[in-house]
Symmetry: C2
Subunit: 155 residues, 2 copies
Amino acid sequence: MGERKPKKRPLPETSAIADRLHSTAIHLLRRVRKQDAATGEGPARLSALSVLVFGGPMTLGQLAAAEQVKPPTMSRIVTGLEHSRLAERRTDSKDARRVRIHATASGEHLLHQGRRRRIEYLARYLDGLTGQELATLDEGVQVLERVLRDWPSEG
Amino acid sequence: MGERKPKKRPLPETSAIADRLHSTAIHLLRRVRKQDAATGEGPARLSALSVLVFGGPMTLGQLAAAEQVKPPTMSRIVTGLEHSRLAERRTDSKDARRVRIHATASGEHLLHQGRRRRIEYLARYLDGLTGQELATLDEGVQVLERVLRDWPSEG
DNA sequence: GCTCAATCGTTAGTACAGCTAACTATATTT
DNA sequence: AAATATAGTTAGCTGTACTAACGATTGAGC
């Protein structure tokens, strides 16, 4: 971490943004979570299902890594998804230790439903914004996406 | 919500922003939460403590409402905070049904510590951004803050 | 002033989501 | 063939959320 550029510590500005970003993200998700409750599935299950639907079938370990969760946790989440018939475990034909997780058709359906509901909820409020504000928000999200994508996984 | 512009339903754009905003917020908070773990307290406790520190003492019901949680849940959170000596219950002198929750000095201290750690963590990555990107992010967060502030509480 | 309904909080019981440690089963390496 | 490494699961703990049922207190209406 130590190198020789003159600016070494966060500008006050940076800290302020970080703080407000954090608080804003918390409050945003609290709101949205209530919409998700209508699906009857918890947030961890919905998030894992989303990764499965958009990323395709993958092993339990990969799914755990994608969700930044330990394998035992993901194992339970998948068990829950299986009980609701939203996903299935299939054994890998090449390596019997591996378990490939697949979203079922009904899993995809539920995910898209929930997604639509959540987006409509959010979009209802975003619609109150001007085109300019919307563009600003969009660009901010893009910056954040880039930061997260390049984030070292160690923590 | 009804205005005179021809567009009535969310533009695809709006939905896309809403979707990415949601996903981004989830992943951001997953990262930050790991920093908070260093405080030894869970997220619900830290969040409630934060409300107490910045909003001052309040009744259990008020705190529950502020955190958008039911009273039994807040009761347990406060019990946890009490065991860690971060907050105290005091009976209201005017109304013996009410319980006023106060942050202790050590609660304030821990909160500020955790907040500093979290912000430094976030800011470390935000520092990798250009001034332009930072400004963009800042503006996006401001838009979002405004949306959340004006958000009707019903849901 | 006494009863009764409303309010505030807690207790009990359930479910979900995260962890570590210990285990089983399979693959790989030596 | 035996030792080691890898993938998942099981068991057990903690924390966070809910509803339902309850106790205590207050305030209203008679």
